[in-house]
């Protein structure tokens, strides 16, 4: 169990960790950013559990996975707003190629005393092959009445009209696809504060994307 003290700020970045099991408790006015990036997994499981035990906490969770071959990447987030005045934001993105399998379970609980909470959860998945699969399961349990909570999950393919537009400008379809996949992935990478790590990752994801 990791404890964040009153007013503490922490950013945790995990890149290609095969297994991740985080339990975090946040004291009053602490802020936490977690960025998990899995671009060369075989089988990978991430579990993140966060409790707001003090008021006014903020939590951001960003997860990016690129899954290929027959690999499997599972992500489970549990965010508990035990008390009020807190904020949480989760963005979970998957790119699935070949016969890759992905799963996301996102539990968000706002307890009765947790008024004035704002919570959002977004899950976007990009399927690059017919054989790739994604299972997504958002679970919201909200027991307080004065809260803002939203969630959305979408799974789709590359935008054909964008591909044609790029081809019409002379860009070959392989390059166009690659550019669109990088575009989909990069906003998670851009969340990393450390410029060196961020730039390294941006350089390397191009090599990750397969044709």
């Amino acid at each position: 169990m990791l404890n964040l003290n009153k007013g503490e700020h922490k950013e945790l970045v995990f890149i290609n960790e095969p297994n991740l099991d985080l339990h975090i408790s946040q004291a009053q006015d602490s802020s936490l950013r977690i960025i998990v990036i899995n671009v060369s997994p075989i089988h990978q499981f991430t579990s993140i559990e966060v409790h707001h035990v003090g008021t006014g906490c903020s939590t951001e969770i960003y997860v990016l996975a690129y899954v290929k071959n027959k690999d499997c990447v599972r992500t489970c987030t549990r965010v508990y707003h035990d008390v009020g005045g807190g904020q949480s934001k989760q963005v979970i993105k998957y790119v699935l190629a070949d016969e890759g399998q992905g799963a996301f379970l996102g539990e968000l609980k706002i307890l009765p005393d947790a008024q004035k909470v704002s919570a959002e959860q977004t899950n976007r998945n990009l399927l690059l092959s017919e054989e790739a699969t994604m299972r997504t399961q958002p679970q919201m349990e909200i027991y307080a009445d004065d809260v803002k909570a939203s969630h959305g999950a979408t799974t789709g393919q590359l935008d054909e009209s964008a591909l044609f537009y790029m081809q019409q400008r002379g860009i070959d379809p392989q390059t166009a696809r690659r550019m669109l996949v990088v575009a989909f992935m990069q906003d998670i990478i851009l969340q990393i504060s450390d410029e060196k790590i961020r730039e390294q990752l941006l350089q390397s994801i191009d090599g990750v994307i397969e044709e």
């Binding site: 935008d159 009209s161 081809q167 019409q168 400008r169 002379g170 669109l180 989909f184």
Partner: protein, 248 residues
């Protein structure tokens, strides 16, 4: 004047519905051709087929660009040969910056022509030059392609891309739709500035208004998948007055 584009007896369908039913059209270098016609006549289908949009199927006919068989080329090759479409609805591409998009496009074309790619400095200089021509804001470079652009900005951005790629055949598909009069003038000025004795334009429009600014050498009426009438710019004025009723 030598022939740039020759379309012979072109038939095309979408989802087994025939839209073009025998289009014949020859365009010479230096010429501006307006294609007008009622909704559903096949105007946008013609631009889609010329650019190789995979949603449409050519069932009969030929298209030749500078003596080369256009129908045998994939869309990106047609573009590199100099076919440019200013889209009626430019596509938003979140996460792909204008500068990355344009540099890729320009350098792919240069590679096709056997030229060295432009360096970052040369490229940015070229971009600055062309943006100035269209009175476009500098902040454009790092914005995602068309994302959050107003209708007018999107159309200006199409003409900007045209300026960057210097096509031999530009097709302006309803470029006037959604433009206020100032934006229309800027877009038209851009098109006119890009005119050379070697290249040509097809201006697809529903209204005569744009043709006050981009003056066509020929005006064609496309109705029911065929060119049913051809004239000079006077024909556009007549159409504006009488409408398309006689062709429907």
């Amino acid at each position: 004047m030598s022939e740039l584009l020759v379309i012979k007896n072109l038939h095309a369908s979408i989802q087994d519905k025939e839209i073009l039913r025998g289009v014949n059209l020859t365009i010479g270098q230096g010429e501006v051709h307006a294609i007008m016609g009622p909704n559903g006549a096949g105007k946008s289908t013609l631009s889609a087929v010329l650019t190789g949009n995979p949603q449409y199927r050519v069932t009969e006919g030929e298209i030749w660009l500078k003596g080369k068989n256009l129908l045998e080329m994939p869309p990106e090759q047609r573009a590199r040969e100099g076919v440019f479409l200013s889209f009626q609805y430019p596509v938003e591409i979140p996460g792909v910056s204008m500068v990355n998009f344009m540099r890729t496009a320009v350098n792919e074309k240069r590679k096709y022509e056997g030229k060295e790619p432009l360096s970052a400095t040369e490229f940015l200089r070229l971009m600055r030059e062309k943006k100035k021509m269209l009175a476009m804001a500098d902040k454009l470079n790092n914005r995602s392609v068309n994302e959050g652009f107003s209708g007018g900005e999107k159309k200006k951005n199409e003409i900007f891309q045209m300026a960057m790629l210097e096509p031999c055949l530009s097709i302006l598909d309803e470029t006037d739709s959604g433009l206020d009069i100032d934006a229309l003038r800027i877009v038209a000025d851009g098109v006119n500035m890009l005119k050379t004795p070697e290249n040509a334009s097809i201006v697809i429009t529903h209204y005569q208004r744009l043709l006050d600014y981009i003056v066509p050498d020929f005006v064609h009426v496309l109705a029911n998948g065929r060119i049913v009438k051809t004239g000079d710019k006077q024909l556009a004025l007549e159409l504006e007055e009488k409408g398309y009723a006689e062709f429907e």
